[in-house]
């Protein structure tokens, strides 16, 4: 079978899919853990590609979605905090030398917006803002039917805009970024701090407390849990207001695990938007929707990138 191989290399898992020449349904797909003691990440990527390579037929290309700063023009992972040793890492060259097929590389969130725009929740729009809210917050933008890339393919690091200059520390070491206020770990950290300060709640303090457990408690009426989502949603709404003033999109897509909590997060987001927006015309006819493609957005974005070279 002729086809394409797409990878989504995350901090936790590496996912791979074999796609046929037509359509977006993978013929085969699986995932493995990113970090293990016995093997380097790059070797795991190589093995994964070998494992899914079809016995017969031609592979037309490989696309890899990677976290962090990716120079798509040069095919280099400039820096990926969660992957040891990937600093100025020439992943495209390495894969191309090994497999002798065209290889494209993209930041995971920018490939995800390409997927959601061509095949998911943002179809038909020309100006799209995409945020994925999970362990981190990543972003992608379609502006006038193009993925916004910047001069070196490092644009739309939307989790790293400052909303609160002296706020909590972000994974990147700076303070008060959107990611430090509205990501899953940011929600959990807020709850843990409040428990330490003696807040009353059905939740118990634990270093593994997750935003998923907090969401469950909120839905059962726990006021601290509800407050944590209100706070995250308010900052997310403030961040989105800034981004709406910057991009004037007609569609906003929210993806990632935290967005699966739905109204718990969206309700405070909507009221923050009403409060912070400059002019109601910005919100007129705007769609605020959750992602369609779920965990596959990056893979399908990579497939789209291979077929259309749209990054």
């Amino acid at each position: 079978m002729d086809g394409y191989i797409c990878l989504d290399i995350g901090g936790t898992n590496i996912r791979v899919a074999l796609f046929p020449l037509k359509g977006i349904q993978p013929v085969e797909h699986f995932r493995i853990k990113t970090i293990v003691k016995e093997q380097k990440v790059e070797e795991r990527v190589m093995d994964l590609i070998k494992d899914i390579w079809p016995k017969k037929g031609e592979i037309r290309g490989i696309a890899a979605a990677a976290p962090g700063y990716v120079d798509s023009h040069k095919g280099v992972v400039l820096s990926a905090v969660n992957i040891p040793g990937w600093s100025n890492y020439p992943l495209r060259k390495i894969l191309r030398n090994k497999f002798k097929v065209p290889v494209l590389l993209g930041n995971d969130a920018r490939l995800a917006v390409l997927g959601e725009w061509r095949h998911g929740a943002a179809r038909g729009h020309h100006d799209v803002l995409y945020l994925t809210i999970s362990t981190g917050i990543g972003g992608g933008v379609i502006s006038n039917d193009k993925v916004l890339m910047g001069s070196r393919g490092m644009a739309t690091e939307l989790g790293h805009i400052t909303l609160l200059p002296y706020g909590p520390f972000c994974s990147c070491g700076h303070r008060g970024h959107l990611e430090a206020l509205s990501s899953g770990p940011a929600i959990a950290r807020f709850v843990q701090e409040q428990i330490k300060n003696g807040a009353s709640t059905t939740l118990t303090q634990s270093p593994t407390l997750s935003s998923k457990e907090i969401a469950k408690a909120a839905l059962k009426g726990d006021l601290l849990a509800k407050l944590a989502f209100d706070r995250a949603g308010e900052f997310l709404g403030l961040g989105l207001s800034n981004l709406i003033h910057i991009f004037n999109p007609s569609c906003i897509v929210l993806g990632g695990g935290v967005s699966l909590t739905g109204e718990l997060l969206l309700q405070p987001v909507r009221s923050a938007l009403q409060k912070h927006i400059l002019n109601k015309e910005y919100l007129n006819k705007i769609s605020l929707v959750t992602a369609d493609l779920g965990d596959n957005a990056g893979l399908i974005g990579g497939l789209t990138y291979l077929k259309t070279n749209e990054l």
Copy 2:
């Protein structure tokens, strides 16, 4: 003589220029006050166009730069705070009906970035960030050789991004926007507040105290004046860091009266950039320059818009 007529309608002055078919040197240009008791702004605009209309020859088109939210697709000024009565104001239709030539309308800062990119400080770049810092702060962006417009032509309101949620009030009524922290009036307000609080300075409190006077005092060694520019520059650097993470430009152009203070503002901007940038690769090979076209950027941008339809 055949040519083009371009207008730049500001809160203080309306400027007009008659351009020949080739080149960017106006054949004739003048300006009048925007607001007078005896006449409506729209009548002043009409009269100005009639006054500059050449006795012989054909006018190929009129371009008008307007402040505030401008829907360039529809040719409507949605809202211009400084111009009484211009709310959902169909300026394009009105001018087209009157003068029977093509009319194009654009936000002043977006036309200015088009001018600086095609004929000024940002020539040769593909990804440009432009900020004009004067009474307000306006913005324009070139992304991958296109002016970023958004779904309704209302994008890049870069003065209205929140940097300090409980900070000073902005002209728009919201709090802690870049414009409320780094514009000329923001600098003057900070100094006035400090004088009220008993700060020692060579400046005297006055409702007409301007950022220009403060700049002069700073250059003579006044510490409060110097502090005011340091503070404005630090917030400007923080805002620019956000915008660099969003757009990854290769060139940043600063225009407007406050930017004419040069190093007084640029030095704290540069140190804030070093402090807040995610990854030094963002600043690698970036140009941070002041505008070339001065007050003419909007007019020359309008001319470019007429010739190329690039908005």
